[in-house]
């Protein structure tokens, strides 16, 4: 057995052509062909077997055999070195199965399909499900940390409400009986101006209504519909779940792309799309919650569809509903955090059907 390659002594950067031989007593013999000093002829170095280590094969890159005292033998004769490794004791056989796997085209195809399936399953089911479980089992102390978020919003995008204190008090008195059942959520109602016609729930239980929204609502029932929608977010811990989902997804994508250190746009765009679709699921959950609560509180659930549609119109600037049909609205569905209004109205109809409500 004779393998052609190079020898490097580990002390200088001088490279020698060399031949490696296995002698009859399983010792390693290395013949150096000293360049520029041909008259010396060949130099011979002997090695014990326990002083050498054969690196695992990696595609067709040069293969190294590390020798005692930082010396190194390099060869492109991968098959020769595989044969040498087989001849030597089995303990010297390296992780050869990896190379076999990597060079087997059907294994690669299979691995690719498994990858696609696993990524799909993890992102569609795994991440939301585990985030849900984590959110339910996390100590409450985590949520209490968000208590400053209203202060932060007050300092940035929100201003004091222009509603008269009496009006605010009336609205609070109106809502109070409807959220009594959710004592454990520490619900507190606040009014602010700015941010368009809107209502949102903060993780500590604060629900904020904007002045524009109060103006937009034509009846108390419409306000209650939105109140229940926001309580739905709180009861299902949506903010916390979204935060957990974002970090889970981040680690998962990192694990798959691994050392590719990609441009942010390549991993960022799918993450963004997924986040949007996750938050759409949350909206659907909150809608469902609101419909159920309204039904139990004996509020006409039609108000829900009406106020949601008016909110969407007010915030998109359209005076009249003019939903584009076909591909565009589908794309819009994927790109928006909130479900398309049409879907919302449909959900009201579905809910009615399921609960046997007849107009």
């Amino acid at each position: 057995m004779n393998i052609k390659g190079y020898y490097l002594d580990g002390k200088s950067s001088k490279r020698h052509e060399a031949n490696l031989e296995l002698n009859s007593h399983n010792g390693i013999k290395l013949y150096l062909h000293s360049a520029g000093a041909q008259h010396i002829g060949q130099e011979l170095i002997m090695f014990n077997l326990d002083a050498i280590k054969i690196e695992s094969r990696l595609a067709n890159t040069a293969r190294e055999i590390t020798l005692a005292e930082e010396q190194l033998f390099i060869s492109y004769d991968n098959d020769g070195i595989d044969a040498l490794a087989n001849r030597l004791s089995p303990t010297l056989k390296q992780r050869d199965w990896l190379h076999k796997l990597e060079s087997n085209i059907s294994a690669i195809l299979l691995a690719t399909f498994i990858m696609v399936a696993m990524v799909y399953a993890a992102l569609i089911y795994g991440v939301p499900k585990s985030a849900h479980w984590l959110a339910d089992n996390l100590p409450n102390v985590v949520e209490a940390q968000f208590s400053d978020s209203l202060t932060l919003l007050d300092q940035s995008i929100l201003q004091e409400s222009q509603l008269s204190p009496a009006h605010q008090k009336d609205l609070k008195i109106l809502m109070a009986p409807y959220y009594q059942a959710f004592n454990q959520l520490n619900i507190r109602i606040e009014f602010r101006s700015g941010f368009g016609a809107n209502a949102f729930a903060l993780p500590d239980g604060t629900i904020v209504f904007t002045d524009d929204f109060i103006k937009l609502a034509k009846s108390d029932d419409e306000i209650l519909a939105v109140l229940y929608h926001e309580i739905g977010h709180l009861a299902n811990k949506h903010m916390l779940r979204r935060a957990i989902q974002a970090s889970l997804m981040g680690s998962f994508i990192l694990m798959v792309t691994g050392d590719l250190d990609t441009l942010d746009i390549i991993t960022g765009l799918p993450s963004l799309l997924l986040d949007l679709s996750y938050s759409r699921d949350f909206e659907i959950e909150a809608d469902q919650f609101a419909l159920e609560q309204m039904f139990q509180a004996d509020i006409n659930i039609d108000h829900f569809g009406v106020i949601m549609r008016r909110l969407a119109d007010a915030n998109s600037g359209h005076s009249e509903v003019e939903t584009e049909k076909g591909l565009f609205s589908k794309v819009q569905g994927y790109l928006s955090t909130h479900p398309i209004t049409e879907d919302r109205v449909q959900r009201v109809l579905d809910f009615k059907e399921a609960h046997g409500i007849i107009d």
């Binding site: 950067s13 490279r15 990896l98 102390v141 798959v256 691994g258």
Partner: protein, 343 residues
């Protein structure tokens, strides 16, 4: 292969006056790398991330082994166990840090301050680890910098760059590259980096002037013809992208053109057109293949980056000698990856 040995021998005896130009060469192949990546990704996910340490080593071994200079390749030497240890410690610290930050904000704040002051230490360790794990012709690279040096380039200079609204940013860049290069060594031979702040200031001024005049003319056009306002965001995106390419090309060219090792000078000829072409092809193919082109894209980029660097060799490359052995841990590198800091 024998040809190069002969020419080396010849140069050794004839001692030519003109330098020999040796280009770096990258022999990696897209599909070959894709195969490694799929197996790595699959095993990493299936082992819940444990395998990622082995994946990192295999990945780097492939890339380093395909980088050639003068027909000799580089080598990546890290041991997966070493990396796994560092990774576990770093991730554990990151989780503890985040929990403390949420539950005990005061202690979290103290930890944050402590963490900021530990960044220079870990950056030094990380650089040392990466250099130490790289070898060429069986001689390892080295990195050795003081805490103060790292403190300046990780915290002070970037901060001054921001505080002066970018005015000191060229100086900060120069200091950062000087830190990475001047503290590096190939065996016992130190790298030498000799760029001036003005080398960075000139292109920065040039870019600022272009952006300013472009911004003014777009503003002027949209004032005169309001119907043309829609071009403003398009021009903004194009300018932003062009600036990034300009930055990468310029900074890398300055780096290599001012770098030397013993009497051997580096040069590079990255061009905006060249890099733009690589990025455009990579982005398009990655989008079309829904991400599966990504490994091949990395190979294409590395090929471009490697093959545009040249070493002007004065004399022989055979006289480098190895430094004394030293032990380094992977903790610094993994801390940098987990906590997302670095230079």
């Amino acid at each position: 292969m024998s040809e190069s040995t002969i020419s080396e021998r010849a140069s050794h005896y004839d001692a030519p006056l003109s330098p020999k130009k040796l280009s770096f060469e990258f022999r990696g192949k897209g599909f070959e790398y894709f195969k490694l990546w799929v197996v790595n990704a699959l095993l990493s996910v299936m082992t819940l991330g444990i395998y990622s340490a082995w994946a990192t080593v295999r990945n780097n071994r492939y890339l380093y082994a395909n980088l050639y200079l003068n027909d000799s390749h580089f080598r990546y030497l890290a041991n997966p166990i070493q990396i796994l240890k560092g990774r576990i410690i770093a991730v554990t610290l990151l989780v503890i840090y985040n929990i403390v930050l949420l539950t005990m904000p005061i202690i979290g704040l103290v930890l944050a301050v402590f963490l900021i002051f530990s960044i220079p230490y870990f950056v030094n360790k990380s650089m040392a680890f990466n250099r130490r794990m790289t070898s060429y012709k069986n001689i390892q690279f080295r990195f050795n910098a003081s805490y103060k040096q790292a403190f300046m380039v990780t915290l002070i200079w970037p901060l001054l760059g921001i505080l002066t609204l970018g005015l000191l940013y060229p100086k900060a860049l120069k200091e950062i590259y000087a830190y990475t290069a001047n503290n590096s060594a190939y065996g016992k031979s130190k790298f030498h980096f000799c760029a001036s702040t003005w080398d960075y200031g000139k292109p920065a001024l040039f870019a600022a002037a272009i952006v300013l005049s472009l911004g003014l003319s777009v503003w002027g056009i949209s004032e005169i013809w309001p119907s043309l306002q829609f071009i403003a965001p398009i021009i903004f995106v194009l300018t932003y992208f062009t600036l990034i390419v300009f930055f990468i090309v310029t900074v890398n060219n300055i780096f290599y053109q001012n770098l030397q090792l013993q009497k051997h000078h580096f040069t590079s000829n990255y061009t905006m057109a060249g890099l733009f072409k690589v990025i455009l092809i990579n982005t398009l193919l990655t989008l079309i293949t829904l991400g599966f082109y990504l490994p091949a894209a990395k190979i294409r980029l590395l090929k471009y980056l490697a093959e545009n660097v040249t070493l002007n060799v004065h004399g022989s490359l055979e006289n480098f000698s190895a430094a004394t052995p030293e032990d380094v841990s992977a903790l610094g590198e993994e801390m940098g990856q987990s906590f997302e800091f670095g230079v």
